[in-house]
């Protein structure tokens, strides 16, 4: 359950979640876009994201900086996506605190080929 005022457990379709990017291989400066690979699930089958509802721009980046510090890796970029766009790829955003505001994109099929098919369905890359 979220402890923050105004942040309810239910994630609305229009709500934006941020994927923090720690690899320059996951975005393109030339094409000004995030690559779909940035959303591929980790070995645990989940894609870590953070809710940004009610936060100003600087505060959204602060979350990423905190995550970067914990992983000892530089924060390169951020991709924002709505819960609705995730749902279009037949996946879902599920609250997974702590840390505060942390969520996972879940529902990835175990088969890698199908993972790619999911990208083809919704292609959740939005720079």
């Amino acid at each position: 359950m979220s402890d923050e005022p105004g942040v309810v457990d239910q994630i609305a379709a229009e709500e934006i979640v941020a994927r923090y990017i720690f690899s320059s291989a996951h975005f393109s400066r030339d094409n000004n876009r995030v690559k779909h690979n940035a959303f591929m699930p980790a070995p645990d089958g989940k894609t870590s994201v953070f809710r940004t509802k009610g936060l100003e721009g600087a505060a959204v980046w602060e979350i990423g900086e905190e995550v970067a510090k914990g992983r000892n890796q530089p924060l390169h970029a951020r991709a924002d996506i709505t819960a609705e766009e995730v749902a279009l790829a037949t996946l879902k955003v599920a609250l997974s605190e702590p840390p505060p505001r942390h969520c996972n994109i879940e529902g990835w099929p175990e088969d890698f080929a199908l993972n790619h098919a999911h990208y083809a369905k919704g292609h959740p890359s939005k720079a």
Partner: protein, 171 residues
């Protein structure tokens, strides 16, 4: 400007849109390549030179992606180190890829495999992940209702089904 094949037209940019002379009739959906006048050097760039440049750019991108991904956890989310076998297979793939299919982007998947991506307009995309053991996993979206995915072996030639899907993007 020199071309191996095809024709060229001259136009101007107005409000971000390329305006061609009224006598030029191109069908809707026709793919075009724009080379600004100011970008020409030494009398122009031939199609052969442009393709060589694109090929080199793709190889440089592949090297950069592989280099960055050689350490486990390179993506900050526990990603596996880039697979050398996948890198070599991707290099062979690029070596036999027909020149008209320029790879837009090369990236690395969390499982350490190299991924190649092509795009054509909004929402039309095709990607191939090159497996360490020589399999090519592909997926494409050509319209809101036209999608494909599958796996093919890579035996040194681009599988016809992948070439067919790339043609769907460029047509």
């Amino acid at each position: 400007m020199r071309y191996e094949t095809g024709v060229s037209y001259k136009g101007t940019v107005r409000n971000g849109v390329v305006v061609l002379p009224p006598e030029v009739k191109l069908p809707d959906g026709a793919a075009v390549e724009i080379i600004p006048e100011g970008a020409k050097t030494g009398g122009g760039v031939s199609m052969t030179e442009a393709r060589h440049s694109e090929s080199q750019r793709a190889l440089n991108s592949l090297e950069a992606v592989f280099s960055e991904g050689r350490v486990p956890g390179w993506d900050g989310y526990g990603g596996r180190a880039a697979s050398y076998e996948s890198y070599l297979a991707a290099k062979r793939f690029l070596g036999v890829l027909p020149g008209e299919f320029h790879v837009l982007e090369i990236a690395l998947d969390p499982d350490g495999e190299i991924s190649l991506e092509w795009r054509a307009g909004a929402g039309s995309t095709f990607s191939v992940s090159v497996g360490a053991s020589g399999e090519l996993t592909y997926a494409g979206k050509f319209s809101s209702t036209t999608k494909t995915h599958g796996t093919e072996p890579f035996t040194g030639e681009i599988p016809n089904v992948i070439l067919g899907n790339l043609r769907r993007l460029v047509v």
